[in-house]
Amino acid sequence: MIKNMITKKNEREQFNDVIRTHQQMIFAYIFRIVKNYQDAEDLTQDTFVKAYRKMDTLKDNRKIKSWLYQIAYHTAMDYVRKRSVLLLFDASKVNEVVYEVDYFSDETTNEIMATLNYKEHTLMTLRVLEEMSYEEISSIMHVSSTVLRKRYERLIKKLRKQFLDKEGEIFE
């Protein structure tokens, strides 16, 4: 295993490299879900602390990105579920919290993207931004690739409709 390959002395240095390389990626992913800086920072920190504790589970260093995303996905999921209990909302309504600021280029995009739930953000991040295969995403979200493909298609359709309704424009 990776952890056995490095000595105790530089174990932390190696992990600090992991932090430096991937923290922005994980933070951006979580930020899109939780919509505020403080919580995103906390959850990113939690993700890396869990990652450090679970270093033994990383079998192949080439898969570190999807491994980190998996931890971050579950961390975000716990947050959303806990928050929906605290707010006494239906979990789907947690997304009615808008972004703190207009983080997208225009108000329409900001409003539409704020409506995505954590699973949809995960799909967008992994499929659209990271260009992962459905098989790889399946290992992160623990859902079959067939289901993911259908979810993605529905999601794109939904976004097209929302943009069309709001501004009479669609994307390719």
Partner: protein, 310 residues
Amino acid sequence: MRYLSNSIKDIYGSAKIPTVDLEKQINHAIDRNKKGKVSFKTVLIAAVIITLSTVITFATVTIKMNQDRSRTLVDNETNNQFTLSMDDNNQKFDKEEEQASKDIVAAVYHIKPEGDQARVVYYDYSHEKEPIVWITAADDRFKVVDDDYSELLTHDKTPTYLETLITSIKSDFEVLSGTYSYQVDETTRLELIESVVPKSTFGEIYVELRPVEKQLWGVSLKLLTKDVERFHSTSIAIYNSSVFSSPGYEGSSFESVMVNDQEAMMSKRSNGAYILVAEVNGYFINFEAKAEKEDMIEFVEKVTKVLEKY
């Protein structure tokens, strides 16, 4: 029908995500985890014993504005009340100003920073008084490393208490970064208002002109604890009490605590962090951390002792 030139990747990827550097905090958290679980209360204590005072706990809260510019927090269920006074040079304000002061509270709840643009909060009611405006430059951040606070400390707008304050907290915290707000003259104020109107989000601008004799500005410091057992995710802000500070918002659970024999307010964020707001000598101290409440009070008491001298 028009087609957007951008693809979904361009659209989704266009989000302006803040840049972070969490390496130190993550390492602190790992060390803390190694030492053992830091226990802190996950539920607000329903009551705190206060020497010679009444214990007050709030569920759902309404904030009432009083004629003397104090704010009264009212428990909607029990009608218990807590009043936070604001001593602003013993000024008595007329109805117009009272209405404006109500807007302040509303404005505090509506501050909308413009991404990486300056965060601007304006309050406007002029009544033949010298205009003064709050400008908070959200992007003017100082990075201080170890003991080198020279950039933050030598700025010409630096409040006089800052160096003493940082010295007093150095045993507990390293300052990671700082932001500041400062007074501007009328010409600059008008220019800034003109520049911000087209950029204001949600179409809201609240502008206040209020005479204040003391230093009109505040400092916010992001802190890194040196004792991972006691504190986590810590920040402190200190600013002139002409702008009301609340530790929470309508609907929050508030708790009254004693800080150096003065009443202060505490509430809890959804992430488990406490916010403690205390007023001393015309300043509001807003301290936020994941910590035991007693540790928070102890630290804020140290800060109030510094500010009492300024």
